[in-house]
């Protein structure tokens, strides 16, 4: 494990920031181009995960454990969010027999 850690110290922190930015943007694109509510949900998970990775990288590079504790809390939050969100999607599907988000425009003024 020490050899792996020493190799990762060679990778600059900028590359982790770049990777997280790319993954976050892919999540944003996924939210914008899909109409399936579940896939939009998955894109949101992708965004949360990219932020998690960035927090972990910062924590590992600066030697501060608080970042990884934050990631742990974000994971707990994501689990709660997925449970409630999927319950809402199931309810929408039961009422409209579709998970197309274009149906959900009744709140539009």
């Amino acid at each position: 494990m020490d050899s792996i850690t020493s190799t990762i110290q060679v990778v600059p922190l900028n590359h982790y920031i770049l990777l997280s930015a790319i993954l976050f943007s892919i999540g944003v694109i996924g939210v914008l181009i899909r109409r399936n509510a579940i896939i939009i949900f998955m894109s949101i998970e992708l965004m949360l995960n990219s932020v998690n990775l960035l927090l972990t990288a910062f924590s590992a590079y600066s030697g501060d454990a608080s970042g990884q504790v934050f990631v742990f809390f974000i994971m707990a939050l994501a689990a709660a969010e997925v449970a409630v969100g999927l319950a809402i999607i199931v309810m929408v599907y039961r009422n409209t027999s579709s998970i197309d988000i274009n149906i959900l425009n009744r709140l539009k003024w």
Partner: protein, 167 residues
């Protein structure tokens, strides 16, 4: 060193496949692969606790939840709602501009080079547990309330409403 770039390439590839695959079941499977690459990233950063938690929570619990809901709805390629091509291109351009903005901000940031931290043991379970149960004890307890309320809310939402029951 090259392992990081290989895994990063795989993360980007699988996450692109998640949002561009038409079949939702394949999307979930690619999402599992994406989360697995995240687990490898955590191992490379020597964040062993997070690697295990990511593996269990995301690839175990959340993916089972997604797949379960997807199977419940009987979705496939034919019923998949798709946006028009114009909207897709606009969405990709909007996301791309966000990416360009982020990269420009990173370039302008002028971070220092690799910080030579000596403490590589912070991601181990023991160290994180000490921090979690001393500094972050109150948020930890509050998150248990959050999980309980999420559980109650999910059951309440997914339960059939008796008044509007049609079958």
């Amino acid at each position: 060193m090259s392992l990081f770039y290989l895994v990063a390439f795989l993360s980007i590839l699988f996450s692109l496949l998640v949002i561009f695959t038409k079949n939702p079941v394949y999307s979930v499977l690619y999402l599992i692969a994406t989360f697995f690459t995240f687990t490898i990233h955590y191992i490379l950063l020597n964040a062993q606790f997070l690697a295990v938690v990511n593996f269990i929570v995301y690839m175990g619990a959340i993916m089972v939840l997604f797949l379960f809901v997807l199977m419940l709805m009987n979705l496939n390629k034919e019923t998949e709602p798709m946006k028009s091509n114009v909207l897709k291109i606009v969405g990709v351009i909007a996301g791309g501009t966000l990416l360009v903005t982020l990269i420009g901000a990173i370039k302008a940031m002028q971070t220092t080079a690799v910080s030579t931290t000596t403490n590589t043991q912070i991601g181990l379970v023991g160290n994180l547990g000490k921090v979690l149960f001393s500094e972050f004890l109150l948020p930890f307890e509050i998150s248990s309330i959050l999980l309980l309320s999420a559980m109650v809310g999910a059951v309440l939402l997914a339960k059939k409403d008796k008044r509007t029951q049609n079958g």
